[in-house]
């Protein structure tokens, strides 16, 4: 057991345990906060995969942006003053069976497949390479992503604002 392996198992445990709480907790606020730990664990996994920039982006965008947005959504749509903050689940038994079968098949096929593992490439300068790629090979997706973000911004404000009578 190298240190790398121990850290991997630690982060995998954090990720899966908190994801389990997200999908099974009765209280929606607990779900939202354990989603925080899931995102942290996934960011750790990214670091282990030599993707340090993506890990930082994950922390900033997911934890700082999306999660805050989700918690705002929870606060705005649940009646905090009532006790109606619970969220019940439906069709647990059939969903458990179906997802169990699905996860079994997925894991088995992932393990059975003989992936051609290349020599693990070492990306020393991920930020440098990402910056280079964004203005050379990926310049069109980069600009399109900017347009998509702008449209999403305007569109969500348009959808969520109060109707003017």
């Amino acid at each position: 057991m190298q240190l790398y392996d121990i850290i991997f198992y630690l982060f995998a445990l954090i990720t899966l345990a908190s994801a389990l709480i997200v999908v099974s907790s009765k209280n929606i606020v607990y779900s939202a906060f354990s989603l925080l730990f899931t995102f942290f664990g996934v960011a750790g996994i990214y670091v282990l995969l030599n993707a340090d920039f993506i890990a930082v982006v994950q922390l900033i965008v997911y934890v700082g942006g999306i999660l805050i947005l989700i918690i705002f959504g929870v606060m705005l749509t649940s009646k905090i003053t009532d006790v109606q903050i619970k969220s019940e689940s439906i069709q647990i038994l059939p969903a458990t069976i179906a997802v169990g079968i699905f996860a079994g098949i997925l894991t088995a096929s992932l393990l059975k497949t003989d992936w051609r593992v290349a020599f693990p490439a070492s990306h020393d300068q991920t930020i440098f390479t990402i910056g280079r790629q964004l203005i050379t090979g990926y310049v069109l997706p980069f600009e399109l992503a900017g347009i998509v973000l702008l449209i999403a911004l305007i569109g969500s404000v348009m959808i969520a604002r109060k109707e003017r009578s």
């Binding site: 929606i28 920039f53 942006g65 999306i66 997802v99 699905f102 992932l110 969500s156």
Partner: protein, 103 residues
């Protein structure tokens, strides 16, 4: 088997994907369904980055993961706006009670 390699990351992302599917299938609250979708996107990102390291594809995996994160941010904003609007109109966010199209 104890040496962590590509398979470990793939199995981790597969399990995370299944948990996300479970959340989407069973949750009544629309925001929790959204959280399940975020789990699914994260698991896909783990796959992309794992193959960027272990596959022989150069750097493309990390670039795709970056764009997935961007689109996830846009998706979360629009989805929460829709959820807020639904809450304003129906006074509930339970996806099984919003069945106005059936009538």
């Amino acid at each position: 088997m104890l040496q962590v390699g590509l398979y470990h990351f793939l199995v981790l992302s597969g399990l995370l994907f299944s948990l996300g599917i479970f959340a989407v299938l069973t949750r009544k609250n629309a925001i929790l369904v959204l959280m399940g979708i975020e789990l699914i996107l994260n698991s896909a990102n783990i796959n992309f980055i794992a193959f960027a390291k272990y596959g022989n594809f150069g750097f493309s995996g990390q670039m795709v993961a970056l764009f997935v994160i961007i689109l996830a941010a846009a998706e979360a904003a629009v989805a929460l706006a829709i959820v807020l609007n639904i809450y304003k109109n129906f006074n509930t966010v339970h996806v099984d009670e919003i069945d106005g199209l059936k009538d």
